[in-house]
């Protein structure tokens, strides 16, 4: 029985790696569908046919797609992400600092949203049916049903326009004091926290309610255990697996959210970089950013699955 869990995890990891391969395939071929010739785009309409042919040869554009794909994948493994079309800089250099910025944003959001969402989700589940529970549920459904940019614009209207507490734009360059840091991150983090927490609250609430409906919790209730003891001692330890699973799954919503939030608040992260790259059709940059996002997403959903496997007592 004890070999079951490791083998399931191994299987899940193999699936994740295969998935990553298929995804990189999809990303590469989707971006190579681009109508118009890359060399012509780079050199401009006025370029001579000889110059275009020379560049095509230099960039290996005449090779079959499968070779270009393999070369690209090998490059990724060696840390060579290619060169940006738009400003001729190595993609790795463009991404570097922005990646750190995005991770900072995601990290702070996680630190804020996880405790908040868990508290709200668990208390709402405990007080199921109460007014408090209903308010939390309606609010979280409301946030889930509207686009991320609406959450962001509402936050700007509330905090920057009506209350005038915070600036509407975020520029991570001129930081002089702690207050500046707070002001820069406040708006993006508030928006992302709403988006991610809403999902997390719903899933946590559902997980705890499911545990509260089990026979052993009823037994504890009949035994005369207090409500706090019921939740903290009997229900929560058993709901821990599903809750961690919910947290990992909800954090994958960060990826969709961060694309909108970085754009609307002008935050210098990779999502903004990628949206700009799409506007200028800068393929190497788009491919690398897309791979980073897919990898992040895949890590989160794989982690969620593995937690679900490990925490399932039936598999032990």
């Amino acid at each position: 029985m004890n070999t079951l869990v490791p083998s399931l995890i191994l299987k899940r990891l193999v699936v994740a790696i295969i998935t990553l391969l298929i995804v990189s395939f999809a990303v590469f071929f989707a971006t190579s569908l681009l109508p118009g010739d890359t060399a012509t785009i780079l050199l401009g309409q006025a370029a001579t046919p000889e110059a275009v042919a020379g560049l095509r040869k230099a960039m290996h554009l005449d090779d079959p797609a499968i070779f270009r794909f393999l070369r690209w994948i090998l490059g990724l493994f060696q840390g060579d992400l290619g060169t940006s079309y738009a400003n001729k800089m190595p993609v790795a250099a463009l991404i570097g600092e922005r990646f750190v910025n995005t991770m900072k944003l995601a990290g702070i959001t996680t630190l804020v949203s996880v405790p908040l969402a868990l508290t709200l989700g668990i208390t709402a589940a405990t007080l199921r049916g109460s007014t408090y529970d209903r308010i939390v549920t309606v609010l979280s459904i409301g946030v889930i049903s509207v686009p991320e940019f609406m959450v962001a614009t509402t936050a700007v209207l509330l905090f920057a326009v009506y209350l005038r507490w915070l600036p509407a734009l975020s520029l991570a360059n001129n930081v002089h004091s702690l207050i500046d840091v707070v002001k820069i991150y406040a708006m993006p983090v508030i928006t992302l926290t709403f988006v991610v927490s809403a999902q997390m609250i719903r899933m946590t609430r559902a997980a705890v309610i499911e545990t509260l409906n089990t026979a052993y919790v009823e037994m504890a209730l009949l035994k005369g255990a207090s409500r706090g003891r019921l939740v903290l001692k009997h229900a929560l330890p058993n709901a821990l697996g599903p809750i961690v699973n919910a947290v990992a799954l909800s954090l994958s919503y960060l990826i969709g959210g961060v694309i909108i939030v970085e754009t609307i608040f002008n935050y210098p992260g990779i999502a903004k970089l990628m949206v700009d790259a799409v506007a200028t059709r800068d393929l190497p940059l788009i491919q690398s950013c897309a791979m980073i996002f897919c990898l992040g997403y895949l890590i989160l959903i794989t982690a969620a699955d593995i937690v679900a496997i490990v925490s399932n007592p039936r598999l032990r």
């Binding site: 995804v23 614009t153 920057a160």
Partner: protein
């Protein structure tokens, strides 16, 4: 087959469970549908006409929802925006669910290698975050209305597939399926006449949810400037072009968001208040 239908008590509770919230939500959805159909005859001003020399004007008697960043009538633009948001999303969700459900039922009935390959491939597809998928496709082939519709549909095929496959696998083990197989019925007959009628209700509820996801994704892409391109403008694009009015709290930037919210929340509420609640929200 009659057995499976009769075992569901939903029909008898229909009158009770269709409460006031559900009716209100349905009314709002129908209203937006009518607006989407009749928009060209409802708008007070042509969408391109500049009615106000001042931009980001507040609500007035002439311009019911104020003016946009060029001084155009916002009310007319929102009504016309409904056409694109509702129309594209509806087309995309129908394509997505039709393909996904057909594939899902086929996989469940066929089993074996077909099932495994389809499931593996579509699972991999669904591990690309939806917004990212949209971005990559738009970068590759541009964003005309047909491309946008098809992209949105493709993004949501894996979800519809997984949902319907899970339902169909259960039906597949029923006795009437075995009987139909022994009769020598074709796969097409099996999925069309035996499985589909038994899963149609949860599939329709799922279609509603997927419609919400597609509206949100389309709005998000348009908001990023990568969805519908001018001169067309859906609700997401309306928010984008008027985002400059945010510091003045202009109605031009708030109203399109509210339009999206009213549509998506109504669909969610309607589904929540439907008599049947057999569906998987996490899909």
């Amino acid at each position: 087959m009659t057995d499976a239908v009769a075992s569901k008590p939903a029909g008898s509770r229909l009158g009770y469970r269709f409460n006031i919230v559900g009716v209100a939500a349905l009314a709002l959805i129908l209203a937006w549908a009518i607006v989407a159909l009749l928009a060209p005859w409802l708008i007070p001003h042509p969408v391109g006409e500049i009615v106000d020399l001042d931009y980001f004007q507040p609500i007035s008697a002439d311009a019911w929802l104020g003016s946009d960043y060029l001084g155009r009538d916002m009310f007319s633009r929102v009504l016309m925006g409904a056409r694109y948001t509702v129309g594209i999303s509806l087309a995309a969700v129908v394509i997505a669910c039709f393909s996904g459900v057909t594939l899902g039922m086929t996989a469940a009935v066929s089993g074996g290698l077909v099932d495994m390959l389809l499931s593996r491939f579509l699972d991999a597809m669904s591990s690309i975050p939806s917004k990212l998928f949209g971005l990559v496709v738009v970068a590759a082939v541009g964003s005309s209305i047909p491309v946008l519709t098809l992209t949105l549909a493709i993004i949501y095929i894996p979800g519809a597939y997984r949902f319907s496959r899970a339902l169909a696998v259960n039906i597949n083990t029923m006795d009437f399926m075995t009987v139909a197989r022994i009769r020598g019925e074709s796969t097409l007959y099996l999925i069309g006449a035996e499985i589909l009628p038994n899963i149609i209700r949860p599939v329709l509820a799922d279609l509603g949810l997927r419609f919400v996801f597609i509206v949100l994704l389309l709005s998000g892409l348009s908001f990023l400037g990568l969805g519908l391109q001018p001169p067309y403008a859906d609700w997401g694009a309306l928010v984008r072009e008027n985002i400059g009015g945010l510091p003045f709290a202009a109605p031009a930037v708030i109203v399109p968001s509210l339009a999206i919210a009213s549509l998506t929340i109504s669909v969610n509420l309607l589904i929540d208040n439907l008599p049947q609640k057999i569906r998987d929200r996490s899909a």
